[in-house]
Subunit: 221 residues, 2 copies
DNA sequence: CGAATGGTTCGGTTAGGATCGAACCATGAG
DNA sequence: CTCATGGTTCGATCCTAACCGAACCATTCG
């Protein structure tokens, strides 16, 4: 009788309006927090938490904990394919709501909690390692201190804290690591203070000016 | 808040075990009666009747009344694609309950609505792309037409239809794409007409003969 | 150390829907 | 016509799961 792959299990996960709203919101590959998703689904965070746990358990979503946030994202391409296949049914109407010009910008550079992420953040971090600003254990080398001084940054002046100075943080859009920790924050602060870039209100986008990007690239080279 | 396409509606239709069992049974494109489907779903005919009404109402199935029978079949290719997309999830993990000798055959070649799926289908599709039978936008190139002519297929002779000529369909067992659309159907029809393969009754398996497989491979090379 | 914020757990309520028995309608066979 | 069979409708039961309030845990900030 009832055999074969258990299609109903996954379908049931998508079958709830709140869950499907959250899934659609994640279709562009972004990673969103539980409270953001609760808002998008029109439910309280308790309910969202329960839904998200089910989706993760069902391997439809993956989580990544960062600080006190938990970032949820689709578990892979096959999930997006499934959602696309479902959208075919309601396709005749329903103009898609997303993918304004903001998305590419978000991939290029954005704030991740308090430090730089996206393409620019990843490039920074990889350059710091390749050029030995950082040692393998993520401590700052002498050359690192020199380079930081070039943009007016002296780690000795940072406010004390028990938060680690350097930490690697997984970048969702690039799937590589970028620099987090107090130093990540300090560098972003300098980038903003130098007017190399500015934050766009109501979003996580960091917008580099043309001169700012040139300055940043020159600094890395 | 909650906008966008109402994917939860269709997902809910598939989310019931009895309904999904019936849908899977229909994946080979056959049309079955309500009582047959009731048996396959492991439910009484009253319940099945209710389920089937919902599926028809939701445009997942179509009915055809003949005498005192009512034949149900999938509403279209997009339904089969959806079911395949769902099967992707239960394929890798979840030690399947049944691994008789039929499964390998099913993975090797099977019918997906009306076109070739499984290992053979995926190989065909990848070859078509690598060897430029198809352009990136899935239109048929001149070389493609030549190769199709080799097995006696002329796309100009296909019956007109508004169904797309070429479509990619995610393959459940392979997690890659295979060829659907009118051309996918036409190729499978030729493969069967050439006696390269035949359908096994009561299943979705497409069984290639040794010579048939050789012919198929030679055609691809 | 609080205070603030992001998230989870628990308990109780509620609504939807899957299920089947029984009765009913429609078609076809004899 | 009568009977058997395919299918639907109705009503009642029962179970699941979505939901939120409230309390709780964890992390960061001052």
């Amino acid at each position: 009788m009832r055999e074969g792959p258990d299609i109903a299990r996954v379908a049931a996960l998508v079958a709830d309006p709140a869950r499907s709203a959250m899934l659609i919101a994640l279709m562009d590959g972004r990673a969103l927090t539980a409270t953001e998703l609760a808002g998008l689904g029109g439910i309280t965070k308790q309910t969202a938490s329960s839904h998200l746990a089910k989706l993760v358990d069902g391997e439809v979503l993956t989580v990544e904990a960062q600080g006190r946030h938990r970032y949820f994202r689709l578990a892979g391409l096959h999930v997006a394919s499934l959602l696309e296949a479902l959208m075919v049914f309601s396709s005749d109407a329903a103009p898609p709501l997303r993918t304004g010009p903001r998305d590419p910008a978000l991939r290029k550079a954005r704030i991740c909690y308090d430090h730089l992420a996206g393409e620019m953040g990843v490039r920074l971090f990889e350059r710091m390692q390749a050029d030995h600003w950082l040692a393998d254990d993520l401590t700052v080398t002498e050359r690192g201190n020199d380079k930081l001084a070039e943009i007016g940054l002296n780690l000795g002046n940072l406010p004390p804290s028990n938060r680690p100075l350097c930490r690697a943080c997984l970048d969702w859009s690039q799937r590589r690591q970028h620099l987090a920790g107090r130093m990540g924050k300090a560098i972003l602060d300098r980038v903003l203070a130098l007017s190399w870039a500015r934050r766009l209100p109501e979003s996580r986008i960091i917008c580099f000016s043309p001169e700012g990007e040139r300055g940043f690239n020159r600094w890395l080279s």
